[in-house]
């Protein structure tokens, strides 16, 4: 299990939003989040109409971007979300959906990286935009 990149994610239950990594390199990552009916946030968002909050879709994409940025340095550094840019939500995500997150580095400078991110359900874009991630710690 040492090789599973999810083990290097600093997030834990109930704030880990990646279930499986499909692809991971220093430039790009693809991961799955299975959105289940017993997610805590569905208790209140919304009472009669369970929809995954947009901010948590952003968090899902940011956790993946953090893994991409930390590729090869797992456990030594932490990637923080520094900026959310032009994110659009195009369809709701609900219980039973499988959310596929994609994060690709556009450019980097020192400890910062700009990512294009997407979250898809059944190949339809649920959310897309750009995130800036910042690394703290030694490499």
């Amino acid at each position: 299990m040492q090789d599973n990149p999810l083990n290097s994610l600093p997030h834990a239950y109930p704030f880990r939003f990646l279930d499986k990594i499909l692809e991971l390199s220093a430039e790009r990552g693809v991961a799955i989040k299975n959105v289940t009916a017993d997610e805590a946030f569905f208790q209140g968002h919304f009472k009669e109409n369970p929809i995954m909050p947009g901010v948590l879709i952003i968090e899902t994409m940011a956790q993946l971007a953090g893994l991409v940025m930390n590729y090869g340095n797992a456990g030594k550094r932490v990637a923080y979300l520094a900026q959310v840019k032009d994110v659009k939500f195009k369809q709701s995500v609900t219980a039973g959906d499988q959310l596929k997150a994609i994060a690709e580095i556009n450019y980097t400078f020192l400890s910062l990286a700009n990512f294009s991110v997407k979250a898809l359900v059944d190949d339809n874009i649920a959310a897309e935009g750009e995130l800036v991630m910042a690394i703290q710690g030694s490499s």
Partner: protein
């Protein structure tokens, strides 16, 4: 030189979505920190990419960044020396 400076100011306002007009940026105003334009480290990422895409100059390390990313004048000088 003044053409580069005007183009630089336009790029700064556009890429960094500054809430000021290009002509309000003084050539020697400090770009970062208090008392100047007030850019932060995240703006530096956009600025460096803008310089690469629009002026063809690369700033890849911290030492160069600290010498160049001071004011419109210092960036314009850096660009001119590489053209």
């Amino acid at each position: 030189m003044s053409d580069i400076q005007e183009k630089l100011k336009g790029m700064l306002v556009r890429r960094l979505k500054l809430k000021m007009a290009a002509h309000d940026i003084k050539n020697d105003a400090l770009l970062f920190g208090e008392g100047g334009i007030g850019l932060d480290s995240i703006d530096a990422l956009e600025l460096v990419v803008g310089l690469q895409k629009e002026f063809g100059v690369v700033i890849s390390d911290k030492a160069v960044a600290e010498k160049v990313l001071i004011s419109v004048n210092t960036i314009a000088e850096f660009i001119e020396n590489r053209q």
